[in-house]
């Protein structure tokens, strides 16, 4: 194999897969879609993302965490979504997951519902 020394492969079965978890693909595509819709330019995005990446260590996980943090910053800068709004909705999604019976799709509307109630 090439490049052992600087390689850090999270997924040995598909070392070249661009995404190792579904949320990575999602946050990538949201960013591209926002850029394409004209909400921010790619150079502006790259500048913010580059700053977030500076603190990241090797590995795909840290890369995508930095990506997500950069997107949140872009949305906050653009007045699209504040951090508080994102955090509150994140908790709501987690509540929805807990309230959803196993095997059923997790819907945001399930948040706050008592499964056994």
């Amino acid at each position: 194999m090439h490049g052992r020394v600087i390689l850090n492969q999270p997924d040995a079965t598909r070392p070249d897969a661009p995404f190792t978890e579904p949320w990575q693909a999602r946050v990538f595509a949201l960013t591209v879609a926002m850029n394409e819709a004209g909400h921010f330019s790619w150079p502006d995005w790259a500048a913010v993302f580059g700053r977030h990446l500076k603190g990241a260590r090797d590995g795909a996980g840290e890369y995508w965490h930095a990506w997500a943090a950069a997107l949140e910053e872009m949305l906050a800068l653009g007045g699209v979504a504040e951090g508080g709004e994102v955090a509150a909705l994140t908790r709501r999604w987690q509540d929805a997951a807990h309230a959803t019976p196993h095997g059923q799709p997790i819907e945001l509307e399930n948040a706050g519902r008592h499964r056994h109630g």
Binding site: G3, D16, L30, A46, W64, Q94, H98
Partner: protein, 202 residues
Amino acid sequence: MPHDHHDHDNHLDPMEARTRALETILTRKGLVDPAAVDAIIETYAEKVGPRNGAQVVARAWDDADFADWLARDATAAIASLGFSGRQGEHMQAVFNTDRVHNLVVCTLCSCYPWPVLGLPPVWYKSPAYRSRAVMEPRAVLRDFGLELPEGVTVRVWDSTAELRYLVIPQRPAGTEGMSRDALADLVTRESMIGTGLARVPA
């Protein structure tokens, strides 16, 4: 049947939940269309990849006029093969010779020519590659198993959000008369970033 699903509490990974929150906000505000998001994922997870770039290289090896065009206006030459769009709006092709070996990096983040190579591999995005490719390119190439002769100059190209590079590796010996498809099979992703050479036919 007694239901026992309380043993299988659903749980969302924190990043999964956070990403869903972002998508919910953007969708509710009408800023993104979930179907468009799905289409973007499908494109980059499954459709676009380094086979596109391999076709560009094979054509350049096999067609001197195309190679000239590629050298003068890579964006247009590549688009003529059907590869254009996001992150390929401004392309430059850099040709390896007996004297010069080209290596591409993005020191800022992970700028990369998506239409011809797809999304970058993990190592391209790593801090180690991004810093070392500029400071000690020969050591990086050795990590990839590539030892260049003394007389060869390594030229490092730092991609930006505006300009993307595609390395055109040298055509291997013993490939005279091969079809373009067969030639394209010799072109690896690494050879188009500069961390490798084109394969020699078996």
